[in-house]
């Protein structure tokens, strides 16, 4: 039993972060109808923000704090310059954001080089969990993921901005007629999605390989979470992340990593077959 809980913890600590990336993707897709293929690169920019800030000031924490702001700003620019002109043209946005991803990757390669970069571990201590030493940083990640999910939930469901954003999704014209500045809401939401990816990249940086193409595998798995959980609801994304992250960790412990990956993929295929809208997705009206 202890082992199951430990493995669940393993899965959830990174699932929290995965949820953060997927939530950003879910916000831009669910709210704006934009499939953002540059989302992985925003994750990568978060890690590079920590790298650069740490080099300049010696503080990893400052980098992690600044990352969502920096990447959120980059997201706002991308929305204003590229995505804004392409709303309602999903295939064009697909192509355009893919181009943005290539530009961002190459820009970072030119600026910082293509090599693997080091980010020091901000917490190196371990704490006992069920008599086993467990890295404190992973527990911090779990907490960070949960706090962010709650904050985003509050933002979308308990604030005026959230109401406006949800109104704009349901009917742009009517929302605009009611006095909602739809353009500003779009930019803010896209920027919010980018900021979440940036924060996730910053927090994950010390545990993965920091290089310009680090966003690619993350993009794939967060698309998965979004598809599995459904795009409309926050709870769906969280559930999707828990199933993918937690399921993989638990299955991986009882079998081996290769079988676990196959099992989780199969599970996802089954879920999509049975519930095409995702586990918690909205049924089409």
């Amino acid at each position: 039993m202890d082992q199951v809980i430990l493995q669940g913890l393993n899965g959830l600590s990174l699932a929290g972060i995965l949820a953060l990336v997927a939530l950003g993707l879910g916000v831009t897709f669910g709210l704006l109808g934009v499939i953002n293929l540059a989302h992985g690169e925003l994750f990568m920019l978060g890690a590079y923000t920590v790298l650069v800030v740490h080099r300049a000031t010696g503080s990893v924490w400052l980098g992690i704090a600044l990352a969502p702001l920096v990447v959120g700003a980059v997201g706002a620019v991308i929305e204003r310059v590229v995505v804004k002109r392409l709303y309602g043209r999903p295939f064009d946005t697909l192509l355009a954001t893919w181009a943005v991803s290539v530009v961002l990757r190459q820009a970072i390669t030119l600026w910082q080089g293509g090599g693997y970069q080091p980010i020091p571990h901000p917490i190196t201590t371990s704490v006992p969990v069920f008599g086993v030493q467990y890295p404190a940083y992973r527990l911090a990640l779990l907490g960070l993921g949960a706090v962010c999910l709650v904050l985003v939930g509050l933002l979308l469901y308990r604030t005026r901005l959230g109401v406006q954003a949800r109104a704009a999704i349901q009917n742009r014209e009517v929302a605009a007629a009611m006095g909602v500045n739809v353009g500003a809401v779009d930019t803010l939401m896209f920027s919010l999605g980018a900021a979440m990816a940036g924060l996730a990249g910053a927090a994950m940086g010390p545990l993965v390989t920091v290089n310009p193409s680090m966003g690619l595998p993350i993009l794939a798995s967060s698309f998965f979470v979004v598809i599995l959980g459904g795009t409309g609801r926050l709870l769906g994304v969280a559930a999707g992340a828990a199933i993918i992250g937690g399921g993989q960790a638990v299955a991986s412990f009882f079998t081996n990593p290769v079988v676990a990956q196959v099992a989780v993929l199969l599970l996802a295929v089954l879920v999509i077959r049975v519930a095409p809208q995702g586990v918690f997705g909205r049924r089409p009206a």
């Binding site: 430990l6 493995q7 393993n10 899965g11 600590s13 990174l14 293509g114 090599g115 693997y116 970069q117 080091p118 020091p120 571990h121 190196t124 371990s126 086993v132 030493q133 890295p135 940083y137 992973r138 010390p206 545990l207 993965v208 390989t209 920091v210 290089n211 193409s213 680090m214 595998p217 993350i218 798995s221 992250g245 993989q248 960790a249 991986s252 412990f253 081996n256 990593p257 290769v258 676990a260 990956q261």
Partner: protein
């Protein structure tokens, strides 16, 4: 320098005569017969001594999951070709290097190899990084075309063909000396093996198991993860439970750094020794310096090899590509691969394919990693194996922290021929 200007003059002269020919042909208005005559003239030129340059194709990963390993490979091939051309080329002919990106993908690698063979009509192909690419290129492109193909990467072995050569380490040159050395010198007994799920880690771990068991060691765990894994926690948990003396990771590309970063985060390096035949100059800079002290690596080449030849080589490399540039054993072996072809052709005094193959089997030359000669049976190089321990001096640049603690000299390559990749 004199030879170079002569070469240039000759080149210009031929260019002029070709242009004049074209002008006359067009002036005469005899388009078809003239074109045929022109082509025939070109054909004749191709056969002349000191004529057409030698074409060398280099397949390197410049994008995709292993892209970080590509630039040192390309740079080393470029450096060798430039040095050869500066010294007058091979048998008086200039060498043209054609670099192609494999995108770290076997299908793309095969496609590019076929393009080099059919369209560019190269004389020799060097390169590729992963075993998946290597087997695909050898079985689907170079062996059917009887193209000379020289592999630079240490790999699990098994490809046997008259036209296939290998200057990277085989398991018996990198793992078989290293594992017993660990058991005897470091007093370790139990090993945990973790690697990416494909031919190279699987084939290499077979060698680790054999070597460990023969020397009285014991394997307490062996497992594989898919390429592109971002969370190694389940594997690390199992390693923590198994409490091995040695953790021996063979994860490819970025996965290697991710695994080691998470291993450090779990604190397992304080319980077990980390030793690997994949811990290179490109991986170490991405890890926290104070955590890696005492880790062990085994390769046929390190930038820190303390010989005048190597020091001079590193100096030339950095003068050409930048003072902070680093490379790993695979990168350096591209330099060896280019020189093997050049020395082979010079020894044969011919560019005819089979003569060059015999030449390559007969030559012996000095390389930054030691003396190179080819074993007639396996077509692989005799190599030194260097064991390096990561120095406690964290103020050194990462590539200088590989302190060579043991050298095994001139190990004969040994492998079993396979029809298809292992695993």
């Amino acid at each position: 320098m004199e030879g170079l200007s002569e070469l240039r003059d000759e080149f210009m002269e031929r260019l002029m005569s070709r242009r004049e020919f074209m002008r006359r042909a067009t002036a005469l208005g005899l388009s078809l017969p003239a074109a045929a005559a022109f082509l025939a003239a070109c054909q004749r030129e191709r056969g002349e001594a000191g004529g057409e340059p030698i074409r060398m194709g280099a397949l390197v990963p410049l994008s995709g999951v292993t892209e970080i390993l590509g630039p040192p490979m390309r740079n080393n091939a470029m450096l060798a070709v430039e040095e050869i051309n500066q010294a007058g080329g091979i048998l008086g002919r200039r060498v043209d290097l054609l670099v192609e990106d494999t995108a770290s993908d076997p299908d793309t690698a095969v496609e590019k190899a076929r393009k080099l063979i059919r369209q560019d009509q190269v004389d020799v192909i060097v390169g590729v990084l992963t075993s998946a690419e290597r087997w695909a290129v050898a079985l689907s492109a170079t062996i059917p075309a009887q193209m000379i193909y020289i592999n630079p990467t240490y790999y699990e072995g098994g490809i046997c063909d008259r036209y296939f050569f290998n200057v990277g380490a085989l398991p018996n040159q990198q793992i078989e000396p290293f594992v017993p050395w660990l058991i005897e010198q470091k007093g370790v007994r139990t090993f945990y093996l973790g690697g990416s799920d494909y031919a190279w880690p699987r084939g290499s771990f077979e060698a680790v198991k054999r070597a460990a068991q023969a020397a009285g060691g014991q394997i307490v765990g062996e497992e594989y993860s898919p390429l592109g894994t971002s969370d190694f926690a389940p594997t690390l948990r199992r390693i923590a439970d198994a409490k091995p003396d040695v953790i021996y990771p063979l994860y490819a590309g970025a996965d290697g750094v991710t695994f080691l970063n998470q291993l450090i985060n779990f604190g397992l390096h304080r319980e077990s020794l980390v030793a690997s035949s994949a811990l290179s100059e490109l991986v170490l800079p991405a890890l926290p310096p104070e955590e890696t002290v005492g880790w062990l690596a085994s390769f046929e080449y390190f930038m820190s090899i303390d010989t005048p030849e190597n020091k001079d080589f590193v100096r030339r490399y950095r003068e050409r590509f930048g003072q902070k540039e680093i490379m790993d054993a695979i990168g350096e072996s591209m330099y060896t691969a280019v020189y093997l072809y050049a020395r082979g052709a010079e020894h044969a005094r011919s560019l005819e394919k089979d003569a060059v193959v015999d030449g390559m089997l007969a030559v012996q030359f000095e390389d930054p990693k030691g003396t190179i000669r080819i074993d007639g049976e396996t077509h692989c190089a005799f190599l030194n194996d260097y064991v390096a321990e990561i120095s406690a001096d964290t103020s050194l640049p990462p590539e200088e922290r590989f302190e060579i603690v043991q050298t095994f000299e001139g190990i004969q390559p040994k492998q079993e021929c396979l029809e298809e990749p292992p695993g």
